[in-house]
């Protein structure tokens, strides 16, 4: 009865029927590659999960150089279910970045970026960068020796960029080295700046998807079946996949709880066999391919410039691929996309196994 009253109260004020009609009229194309549509939904779900678990952890985390590490140990050992929510937050972050990559590479391979969806690609790409920075800033929150060394290497690497490198390094670190100021700065990024930016961009991204509709790959445009209603058909399928993803995150949090190393010490040597987070491994391995000096120039700087050019080219693909924009098959960019995917996976695996 109360439910009916509430429903009537809302319906008197807002045109819910029109919204329902709109949701039902929205069709999702059905074809051979339609499974890629679900990767965006999974990423969105994982983002929401990260927001919820992050808020819970923020109740107990102390963003101060003297207490950060101890507060995490307290969360894990003393707070009721603290270990669980930290595990879910950790694994949720890992899977979120995995699915952002899958979503992005999927979009690249089926050329969903083509006209008129270039801006969708731009917002998605920025969201990937934000996700990675979320990961890096969150990693430092732990303030253990591995996180400390990883952030020192990552921010140091950014410092090797010509012209703007040293500005980026000092801006990120809040000084010349990784200190308590870096922790405060990364905390501000992690809990305030990045969430606001990502919320805005996710909103814009979803809005653009609604505006343009789902993209259909050129190769299956003629073969596609009749579209499936988003609500309830695709929405229910999304829910089933989200439940499986939630189950996997929870299982990982229980069976593989993220470890905590020794407290960070700026004067101590970095621990042996240190590796950055998996999504930076391809960059690290690329740096290793270059010698120390090339014709008198710093090899690391040249490597970082090459990686940056590769990333900028990747970002600009929708504006360069003219054939796809005309609705024609573009074999060259399919090959380029495959090269990007293979390079990323191979270098990540090499970095992991070496």
């Amino acid at each position: 009865m109360i439910w009916l009253k509430c429903k009537n109260w809302i319906e008197e004020r807002y045109d819910i029927a029109e919204l329902k009609k709109l949701a039902k009229s929205k069709l999702v194309p059905q074809h051979h590659y339609d499974f890629l549509y679900y990767t965006g939904g999974i990423t969105l779900f994982l983002f929401i999960l990260q927001f919820i678990t992050g808020m819970l952890l923020a109740f107990y985390y102390i963003p101060h150089v003297d207490f950060a590490y101890e507060s995490i140990i307290d969360i894990v050992t003393k707070i009721n279910m603290g270990w669980f929510f930290r595990g879910v937050h950790h694994w949720g972050a890992q899977l979120c970045i995995v699915f952002v990559f899958i979503h992005l590479f999927g979009t690249l391979l089926v050329k969903s970026y083509r006209k008129p969806r270039e801006f969708l690609w731009v917002t998605g790409f920025i969201l990937l960068v934000i996700s990675i920075f979320f990961g890096l800033s969150g990693y430092l929150m732990l303030w253990d020796e591995r996180a400390f060394a990883a952030v020192r290497v990552a921010t140091g690497g950014a410092g090797n960029l010509p012209v703007i490198g040293s500005f980026i390094k000092i801006f990120l670190r809040g000084g010349t080295d990784v200190t308590g100021d870096t922790l405060t700065r990364f905390y501000a990024f992690h809990v305030a700046i990045l969430p606001v930016l990502s919320l805005l961009l996710i909103g814009l991204h979803v809005l653009l998807v609604q505006y343009h509709g789902m993209s259909v790959p050129v190769s299956v445009e003629k073969k596609q079946k009749e579209g499936e209603p988003f609500f309830p058909n695709v929405f229910y399928k999304d829910m089933m996949i989200w439940l499986i993803v939630l189950g996997i995150v929870v299982t990982l949090a229980i069976f593989l709880p993220p470890e905590i190393g020794n407290k960070a010490d700026a004067l101590a040597p970095p621990p042996e066999g240190i590796k950055p987070e998996w999504y930076f491994l391809f960059m690290l391995e690329t740096l290793k391919l270059f010698p120390g000096t090339i014709y008198g120039f710093n090899g690391e700087t040249i490597a970082i410039v090459c990686v940056t050019i590769g990333i900028i080219f990747f970002f600009l693909i929708p504006f360069i691929d003219r054939k796809s924009n005309k609705g024609q098959k573009s074999h060259l960019f399919t090959i380029i996309a495959v090269i990007y995917v293979i390079y990323f996976i191979t270098m990540t695996l090499v970095g992991f196994l070496s």
Binding site: I244, L246, G247, L252, E259, I260, N262
Partner: protein
């Protein structure tokens, strides 16, 4: 759906091995008492059962919706007489 299960399984396997390689038992990041461990594993099993149950329910509901859509009786008839 098949593709998804494959992707999810691959991701799960990669991460499972990834983390095992770096496992260093230093700070207890998981409850250590047998009672707590037993409770956690039991809860996880119940959690998965609930997930499977929900998926079955959603799947059944979806099949019913698809059946109705196939029959074409889900659309409103504009000429249907109004009853007071």
């Amino acid at each position: 759906m098949k593709y998804f299960i494959k992707i999810l399984f691959a991701v799960f396997t990669i991460f499972a091995f990834n983390s095992l390689a770096f496992a260093e038992e230093k700070i207890p990041v998981f409850p250590t008492t047998p009672v707590e461990v037993y409770t956690i594993y039991t809860s996880l099993a119940v959690f998965w059962l609930a997930i499977i149950g929900l998926i079955v329910v959603i799947k059944m509901k979806l099949k019913e919706i698809e059946r109705i859509q196939k029959l074409g009786i889900d659309k409103e008839d504009a000429n249907a007489p109004l009853l007071d």
